[in-house]
């Protein structure tokens, strides 16, 4: 695959509201046609990053390039990006048609063309015939789609979305995730999506940027981020994890939980202290006397697709996901294969 073209680059962006750094020398490039997600807990700077790209906040220092040219000094209305706001920010004094037509009217397009474009985009958003409806009469999901329609009708090269699904209920959110991804593919434009929901990020993104305290923790595809988390924060934030201290006593050999395991990692200094992450679904259930580890089930919760079991191994509780259940009190064995052991450098504190 040819290397995709870059559309936006953030260079050493710092943001300081006067009470400490919100963003600390953020560097990021965004490619054409990719679905990139800024993911992190609240206060990590993801929304601030988005607002800086949109022009609603002025960074304290650093530069933003759009197709190679600096846009730092441009006000929002002069930037070629459009935003879908967290609470939709629809104009309640206008009907759906006027809301969607807002940007086109500013560009002074002829009315026939506006009518055609609005009709097309409403069709795309699965809202045909909604032109005359008042905003007040729409459901949350419909408002969401109008908000997206209002932004994409302007054919921006980049669409910024600030936790757009946060206000929807779970079922609708799942549907909209798929729909948004389809819209992005259909339009062939770049989506910059902000969320704190790791599952949402994994479902929709081409690239995930995990952020914490104004710093980028890891950038990668969903599969990279899930399978090869760079540090214990990323591992803990994305999915469920068993995170524990270990020692890398030689290449391909790690010891934790009181015994040594084979693993696939190398290149650490001998006897380096490291973090080990094992995903709950990667632990194999075996008879007690044949397992690498041995423990006693302390609790079982039914989660729908699988059971979540807590198993006490020595002094530590492990989390296990399995479609089969072992009753509380039963002694069981656990196997962990080399591929499933993720070794990470300890964060400097």
């Amino acid at each position: 695959m040819a290397r995709a073209e870059e559309i936006i680059r953030l260079k050493d962006i710092c943001m300081d509201y006067g009470g400490g750094l919100i963003l600390d020398k953020l560097n990021l490039y965004i490619l054409k046609n990719e679905f990139i997600t800024l993911l992190g807990p609240s206060g990590c700077g993801k929304t601030t990053t988005l607002r800086i790209i949109g022009g609603f906040e002025q960074q304290t220092s650093g530069d933003i390039l759009f197709e190679g040219k600096s846009i730092s000094h441009l006000p929002p209305f002069a930037r070629k990006v459009n935003t879908v706001f967290q609470h939709y920010a629809l104009f309640s004094h206008m009907n759906v048609y006027e809301n969607v037509a807002f940007g086109l009217r500013i560009k002074k397009l002829p009315e026939t063309e506006i009518t055609r474009k609005v009709g097309e985009v409403l069709e795309l958003m699965n809202l045909p015939g909604f032109e005359k409806r008042e905003i007040e009469s729409l459901s949350g999901g419909q408002r969401q789609r109008v908000a997206i329609a209002r932004a994409v009708v302007n054919e921006p090269q980049v669409l910024l979305l600030d936790e757009p699904l946060g206000a929807l209920d779970l079922k609708l959110r799942k549907e909209m995730q798929i729909e948004l991804k389809n819209i992005q593919k259909g339009l062939g434009i770049t989506f910059v999506f902000v969320t704190h929901d790791q599952e949402e990020a994994l479902t929709m993104s081409d690239t995930i940027v995990v952020m914490r305290d104004g710093l980028v923790q890891q950038i990668g595809t969903p599969i990279d981020i899930y399978n090869e988390p760079k540090n214990e924060f990323v591992a803990g934030f994305i999915g469920e994890s068993n995170i524990m201290d270990g020692v890398m006593y030689a290449d391909y050999h790690v010891s934790f939980a009181g015994r040594s395991f084979e693993c696939v990692d190398k290149g650490f200094t001998p006897d380096e202290d490291i973090d080990v992450v094992v995903r709950p679904e990667d632990i194999k259930l075996v008879p007690a006397d044949s397992g690498m580890l041995r423990g006693v089930v302390t609790s079982v919760i039914f989660k729908g697709v699988h059971y979540e079991m807590m198993v006490k191994v020595g002094e530590r509780e492990w989390m296990l996901h399995n479609t089969l259940m072992e009753p509380v009190g039963r002694e069981i064995g656990l196997d962990i294969y080399p591929d499933d052991i993720h070794v990470m450098k300890k964060r400097k504190t």
Partner: protein
């Protein structure tokens, strides 16, 4: 049961100070004293429509409308400045706007008398600067000035409260869609603030229509607006029947204009009414 008990004082208050006086006004308006006894008569109400009184009404309407309009044109920008994000001393300015309302209404209006007098403060300053003297006292201009001065806060505050509540993301959304600040104002901020503007218009128009102190002090004795006319009937000529008829007519007029304004507003939120 307990709810009813709690309602009691409120109902009594309304009955004694709102419903009962209204009935008394209606009673006086629809009766006339003939031979020491009051009996029903449409005479007072009919007099309201005599040309001389209709002219007074017309002049009152005109002055109230002009004052309301001026209040709107001065008040809206002030409200807008108050809500601007760059504006740091918001609280101080709000207090400064409200402060004169804490002073006695009469004292405030008398103050204008001394300011505007032939040898008053303004003219002294003007003559000191060798500028022509200002002689607007006892004219329409002075009355309008008095009304605008006294009622301006009633225009600013409802507009301010509505502007203040406009979701800032609406403004950002407009800018995001390419609207310059001017277009954002015209197409988003102003339409969103209409409810407050209408409240302000009603809050200014109603007292401007009924005031009698301002025209008497700043308009001079010879100057009659509908408020003065009503006052005269009760305090000078003791024609309570005609006074009541005028009051009733004015009330009906304000009620109708108010209702019309409300209807034109639709279901907007955030107004005072």
């Amino acid at each position: 049961m307990r709810k009813k008990l709690l309602n009691g004082p409120y109902l009594a208050w309304m009955l004694i100070f709102a419903i009962l006086p209204l009935f008394i006004v209606v009673w006086y308006a629809l009766t006339a004293e003939i031979g020491g006894e009051r009996s029903f008569s449409a005479g007072s109400l009919a007099r309201v429509f005599e040309p001389i009184y209709l002219r007074v009404l017309w002049r009152s309407l005109k002055l109230a409308a002009v004052s309301t309009l001026l209040c709107f044109f001065f008040g809206y920008p002030v409200a807008l400045i108050l809500t601007s994000r760059q504006f740091k001393r918001r609280t101080i300015l709000v207090v400064l706007i409200v402060l004169p309302m804490w002073m006695n209404f009469l004292a405030r209006t008398y103050a204008w008398l001394t300011l505007l007098e032939k040898n008053g403060v303004i003219n002294s300053v003007l003559s000191f600067l060798h500028l022509p003297a200002l002689s607007i006292l006892y004219t329409d201009a002075a009355v309008v000035l008095g009304m605008v001065y006294n009622f301006l806060p009633f225009m600013i505050l409802p507009i301010y409260s509505v502007l203040y509540k406009i979701d800032h993301s609406l403004i950002e959304a407009a800018e995001d869609l390419g609207a310059t600040p001017l277009v954002t104002f015209r197409r988003v901020i102003f339409p969103q603030s209409l409810a407050g503007a209408l409240s302000g218009v009603i809050m200014v128009f109603m007292p401007a229509m009924t005031t009698f102190v301002i025209p008497r002090l700043l308009g001079g004795g010879q100057y009659t607006l509908i408020g003065n006319l009503i006052e005269q009937q009760f305090l000078t000529t003791y024609d309570w029947g005609f006074g009541s008829a005028l009051s009733l007519f004015l009330m009906a007029l304000l009620l109708v204009t108010g209702a019309l304004l409300m209807r034109s507003r639709g279901d907007g939120e955030g107004g005072l009414w």
